[in-house]
Symmetry: C2
Subunit: 182 residues, 2 copies
DNA sequence: TAAAAACGTTTAATATAATTGACATTATGG
DNA sequence: CCATAATGTCAATTATATTAAACGTTTTTA
């Protein structure tokens, strides 16, 4: 899944209704360079690509994550949810598992005393969520805390973390992680 | 908020325990180039930066969004939530409004017949959510649908969209959007 | 303690990005 | 219908990224 920088820039530029020369003037590079970049005849330095994007304006991070093609509409209700886990922890992924997404949104249910395990989880990105029902014990970076309905959390997923339901009552959470974990 | 490419690459490389020469060998560029990039004595072309990142491996989009500094732990409960809207639509942002995040996670409450307005919303990125309580009418790209508890949605935010509570009963949603809208 | 290997840095040669100024083509206006 | 300005492209020059091979320093190992 390699991004086509040239086509990408062209699409973004046109989406903003700018000509190569207009964008050149606004960004401080020459129109010729923009032409060459869009034809993939050169691979711009990140400094000049940044200049160009400043003229739009758009951040580098957005340029590399944004999909100008306008991916096909995803829009569904309960029937389109994907069940992932079936044990003590039940996960329902919002959205197709195949489609490219920038987040994973999950509807999680922790059965009585369910636990993600003593082996701490760690991965790139960030995650957060809101407790809808029941109680959950969240351990992040050595610190533990029990959250109830209406409570919420947000942390960097590179820090070792673990979820555990301390009660007999089922616990329900809506969470999101970026980049997607599913 | 301009990213320091050199320092950033160095931080990422060291985080993966790679020396300049190791990374050079794995990525197919010279160690000298990596040294120059890390000192910001050159601004790499995106093609060579991509080569370098492939050796880690890390995607360009992650490189420009990822914060290697290991931002201070964010981890809080109800007391740390930020109230944004106060009218018919009440929004609670999960996490500090100041901190750099890759997502906005919101706990939303729509009062009786609350509406985001006839002026359709449109912005970059993607968003999705799960309906926790009540009912919400979601219109995306001309198509409307009423969602109830357990139902969920996910769509590209560039498509014009609108939320409306068709009932007298309050509606509660947990949503996420990336990049962050708050 | 010396030899060897690894580390990041630097310099000169080379490859490539970026500018400049012109070109052909298509739209805009008098 | 011609003139004028806009569009994107291209060739030659200039600026800069990238390579290859060396350097000095630190760490490893015998």
């Amino acid at each position: 899944m390699d991004i086509d920088v040239g086509a990408h820039l062209k699409a973004v530029r046109q989406m903003y209704g700018l000509s190569q020369r207009e964008l050149a003037k606004r960004s401080g590079v020459t129109n010729g360079l923009i032409s060459l970049i869009e034809q993939n005849r050169v691979s711009p330095s990140v400094s000049s690509l940044k200049k160009v994007l400043d003229g739009i304006p758009m951040a580098l991070s957005d340029f590399f994550t944004f999909d100008p093609a306008g991916r096909p509409q995803v829009f569904f209700a309960q029937d389109e949810l994907t069940d992932i886990g079936s044990g003590a922890v039940a996960l329902r992924l919002v959205g197709s598992r195949l489609a490219k997404r920038s987040m994973s949104i999950l509807h999680e249910r922790y059965g009585a005393h369910a636990d993600t395990g003593t082996e701490m989880l760690t991965h790139n990105g960030e995650e957060g969520g809101v407790v809808v029902r029941g109680r959950i014990e969240l351990t992040v970076g050595g610190e533990s805390r029990v959250l109830g309905p209406g409570d919420a959390y947000y942390f960097n997923s590179t820090m070792p973390h673990r979820f555990r339901n301390p009660a007999r009552e089922e616990c329900e959470i809506v969470s999101a992680s970026s980049p997607p974990t599913f």
